[in-house]
């Protein structure tokens, strides 16, 4: 395995090296780097030109410029741009902003896309399936910059305006309730009566929920509160238990419920710590959660110890997540006031000069990340949905799934244990391909939302026919793509024992 990875890394290195040649030459040839100075009317025009020619080695042929650049990079020097700014410094600032955006969007797209794709496959020919298929086609056909501009207009500007008086008009409540009813109905397979029943249930639940949120002006000062956290995590405990073990025998269920209860109580007990934690402490808490829940599962799991541990750990982490979101929501009011009631931001990666506690800083990041991430997710989501749906449909028709059913396994085990893992195998290869697409999307999205990120570095460099910033951009993204390819390969090998040996 290690030999395999090492070999791949060496090959990737040379491929990347060759790609830098193409990028450098094409960029250098893409226009006239002195264009702006030729129209310059200032008296020191000649000096400016001479200066730039010198800095960019314009008197040398392109291959020589490339080799010089490569030599510098090998020594760890990314060079200066045409105005003499250090590219490494520019890159450092751009990198963190873009990586946040790209990685958050990719991870979300993968998770949501696979979940929707699988549900759609399991409910083939249902209303939900048709809707998802159609929506995926529409998403494929959306220009990302158009979506981004629309989001900016309607999700940010209008949403922020609405937050000033967060009551939902009855018409909107009606529409949301209808939507919720339709989703419930579409997810149900069966005769008309059952679907109508589901529709009615969805309608009532949706209507009640949004009316409650509106009447209590929840959006003005959001948060869950302890009882709701407990309710959500207990429900999640039941859900995770059903997925990993089934409700009979009771061992795993008790373990998961215990994890939910313990998590909720701990959130209250740890209140001082949670008031203003650091990321390190959050990660530490997560590790403790995993350990405690694994212990719970081990102790209470009985004959289904493995499944119990799974259910308990998942429940524990989920409860932690709910607590985390709750804290964020509690900080929302204070944050909103500090940014003059406009929490959803449309420009940049953070509010300039904003300082606050852990939660407010996170909210600030989240508020800035929300819209560009949504735009990026929307585009990738369709790919993952279509792909995992097709993969899952194919797997569900495989002989080994029929064998699993023939053994008398419950449908849950058939899907989770036999179909899901096989269905994931081809999706892993998609990750690497899609990541390259996300980087392209990020260039456009950053442009719309005014992020001073990698995309900006690239576009400005290209616009001024300046290879150094373009190449800095390319080295980072190229490496990121290679790394993602590697992760995909390793995941593939992990999921499919057939290729482990070779």
């Amino acid at each position: 395995m290690i030999v395999f990875i090492a070999r791949r890394l060496v090959i990737s290195f040379f491929v990347l090296l060759a790609a830098t040649v193409i990028m450098f030459v094409l960029t250098a040839l893409s226009g006239d780097p002195l264009e702006d100075l030729r129209q310059d009317a200032s008296p020191n025009k000649a000096a400016k030109i001479a200066d730039r020619v010198e800095r960019m080695q314009l008197d040398e042929p392109i291959p020589v410029r490339y080799l010089t650049w490569l030599g510098n990079v090998a020594r760890g020097d990314l060079g200066v741009n045409r105005d003499g700014h250090d590219v490494a410094t520019m890159l450092g600032e751009a990198l963190s902003a873009t990586l946040q955006l790209v990685i958050a969007a990719t991870v979300m797209a993968i998770i949501i896309g696979i979940v929707i794709g699988i549900i759609s496959a399991l409910r083939q020919y249902s209303g939900f399936d048709y809707t998802v298929t159609f929506a995926a086609f529409v998403c494929f056909s959306l220009p990302i910059f158009w979506v981004a501009v629309m989001l900016k207009q309607y999700m940010a500007i209008e949403f922020n305006n609405w937050l000033k008086d967060p009551s939902i008009p009855p018409v909107v409540i009606g529409a949301l309730a209808l939507l919720s009813g339709l989703i419930f109905g579409a997810l149900t397979v069966g005769d008309r009566k059952r679907r109508l029943l589901s529709f009615a249930a969805g309608l009532l639940i949706g209507g009640a929920l949004f009316t409650l949120l509106s009447v209590t002006r929840w959006f003005a000062d959001p948060g869950f509160g302890l009882p709701l956290i407990l309710a959500i995590s207990l429900a999640a405990a039941v859900g995770f238990t059903v997925l990993s073990a089934g409700l009979n025998p009771r061992g795993p269920l008790y373990a998961a419920l215990g994890a939910a209860l313990l998590g909720t109580v701990a959130s209250e007990a740890l209140s001082p710590l949670l008031a203003d934690p650091t990321w390190l402490e959050i990660i530490g808490l997560a590790l403790v959660t995993v350990a405690v829940c694994a212990g719970l599962g081990y102790a209470l799991g009985g004959l289904q110890r493995r499944q119990a541990i799974n259910a308990a750990v998942l429940t524990g982490l989920f409860t932690g997540g709910v607590v985390f979101v709750d804290r964020m929501l509690q900080a929302f009011n204070g944050y909103s006031e500090r940014v003059r009631g406009r929490p959803i931001s449309t420009i940049g990666a953070r509010t300039p000069n904003f300082q606050g506690d852990f939660w407010q800083m996170n909210l600030d990041s989240a508020g800035h990340l929300l819209l560009p991430s949504m735009a990026l997710i929307l585009i990738s989501l369709a790919t993952y949905t279509r792909y995992s749906r097709a993969s899952m449909l194919e797997v569900m028709n495989q002989d080994y799934v029929r064998t699993a059913r023939a053994k008398g396994l419950p449908e849950r085990t058939v899907v989770v244990k036999h179909a899901f893992r096989n269905g994931l195998i081809p999706v892993t290869t998609l990750m690497a391909v899609d990541f390259a697409g996300v980087i392209g999307g990020a260039v456009v999205t950053e442009n719309v939302f005014g992020w001073q990120g990698m995309g900006n570095l690239f576009i400005e460099g290209l616009d001024t026919v300046d290879p150094t910033p373009v190449m800095a951009f390319f080295i980072v993204t190229g490496t990121a793509i290679v790394v993602f390819n590697m992760i995909a390969d390793i995941l593939y090998a992990y999921l499919d024992p057939r290729i482990r040996l070779s």
Partner: protein
């Protein structure tokens, strides 16, 4: 024309050289070997005889699939019964409904299938059972072995895991106990080094070993009925006999009855107490194996027998393949579905579908208007004489 060394057992084309189905091509040519070898090893006579107690009864089963081209009438009224420890062979070409009818018994047909009739397991109708109760029988009381062991095992889980899971699905016990039971079963089906093999993945097994593992999986819960759907078709010729022998052996060990589905008459001859011949979704002949093979009462059965090469004739007897192809299951011809291919067909055959009726005592049934003509003939396959034979 010389007798080709490899002859398709499923005579669905005019030309016996054509192997349009790779599975058939692979399985061809072994009819002699397997028939012979089955007799060399364990035979039916050596295992415990069936009792009179009936454990499975299928009554008037019909299965239809709505498709874009129309309704596929896959199974059109199948009835049979199975006694304790009995081996019932079901023979027919692809599309004759033999696999679909047994998938119906297992409850493994897709949701879109329209199933009618009754499937009684120890007197209880499985089609009326709750899904939960049906699942409780599946794999515990009625187990199934599939045709292609290459695809029937999940590539990402170990053999031990897949075996143990079959036990754990029905019985709550520590995983260790289930694995021990899996090991025992691997021993039973003759897989060496069972302990280490438990941790192997299917791709590390040969085809024959995988099918043994499938058999182990089927018998791990001591089922009453094992449905074996062409268990040797996808296997190498040399392993086929071993697998069939193993099947009989484990059947005896766990006291199960077998429904053996095949297109290979040689397999049936050596392994089944009774045989059911199916054509176009209907049973066309049913009876004890020897009488059916020696005195077929349905031209289709006779045709099948005529298309098997035989060593005993010293190579002098010619093959007599059935001409034509099976009918479409969407637009069935009127009358007897075999009439377009049948050398005995008359006008009544083309208008009226004959019922399955008793022709000889001892439970020999056939669905043919002209079974008496077959009974009168000395060699029932002579109606399928080829033109070259006539000329000679």
């Amino acid at each position: 024309m010389t007798t080709p060394p490899n002859v398709p057992i499923e005579p669905h084309t005019v030309d016996p050289h054509t192997f349009d189905d790779p599975a058939v091509a692979a399985a061809s040519g072994q009819i002699l070997d397997s028939a012979e070898e089955v007799h060399v090893g364990l035979t039916l006579d050596a295992v415990r005889p069936p009792s009179q107690e009936e454990i499975l009864r299928v009554e008037n089963l019909t299965v239809e699939f709505p498709t874009e081209d129309g309704v596929v009438h896959a199974v059109r009224g199948v009835s049979y019964n199975l006694r304790e420890r009995e081996v019932l062979g079901i023979v027919g070409e692809s599309g004759s409904g033999k696999s679909v009818s047994s998938l119906a018994v297992m409850g493994l047909l897709p949701r879109t299938a329209r199933i009618k009739g009754r499937i009684l397991f120890r007197g209880e109708d499985m089609l009326k059972m709750s899904a939960r109760k049906q699942r409780g029988l599946r794999g515990r009381k009625i187990a199934m072995i599939f045709q292609d062991p290459m695809t029937a095992l999940n590539p990402v889980h170990t053999i031990g895991d897949q075996l143990a899971e079959a036990v754990l699905a029905h019985e709550l016990m520590p995983r260790k106990t289930a694995l021990a039971r899996a090991r025992e079963m691997l021993d039973l089906v003759g897989i060496p080094q069972a302990e280490t093999r438990l941790r192997s993945y299917p791709h590390e097994f040969s085809g024959g070993m995988r099918q043994r593992a499938m058999i182990a999986m089927a018998v791990i819960n001591n089922p009453d009925v094992i449905i074996a759907d062409e268990p040797t078709t996808a296997l190498d010729v040399t392993v086929q006999a071993q697998i069939l022998e193993k099947l009989l052996e484990v059947k005896d060990a766990v006291n199960a009855a077998i429904v053996l589905i095949t297109h290979d008459l040689g397999v049936i001859a050596g392994m089944a107490h009774r045989v059911l011949v199916m054509y176009a979704g209907r049973p066309v002949e049913l009876g004890e194996t020897d009488p059916v093979f020696e005195e077929p009462r349905m031209p289709y059965t006779a045709g099948l027998l005529g298309s098997i090469p035989s060593l005993e004739g010293g190579g002098a007897t010619r093959l007599r393949p059935i001409k034509g192809t099976p009918p479409s299951l969407i637009n069935l011809p009127s009358g007897c579905p075999f009439s377009p291919r049948c050398p005995l067909a008359t006008d009544i055959c083309r208008t009226e579908e004959p019922p399955l009726a008793e022709t000889d005592s001892g439970g020999h049934f056939a669905a043919c208007h002209h079974w008496d003509k077959l009974a009168a003939a000395e060699d029932p396959t002579e109606f399928f004489r080829t033109e070259s034979e006539t000329v000679a």
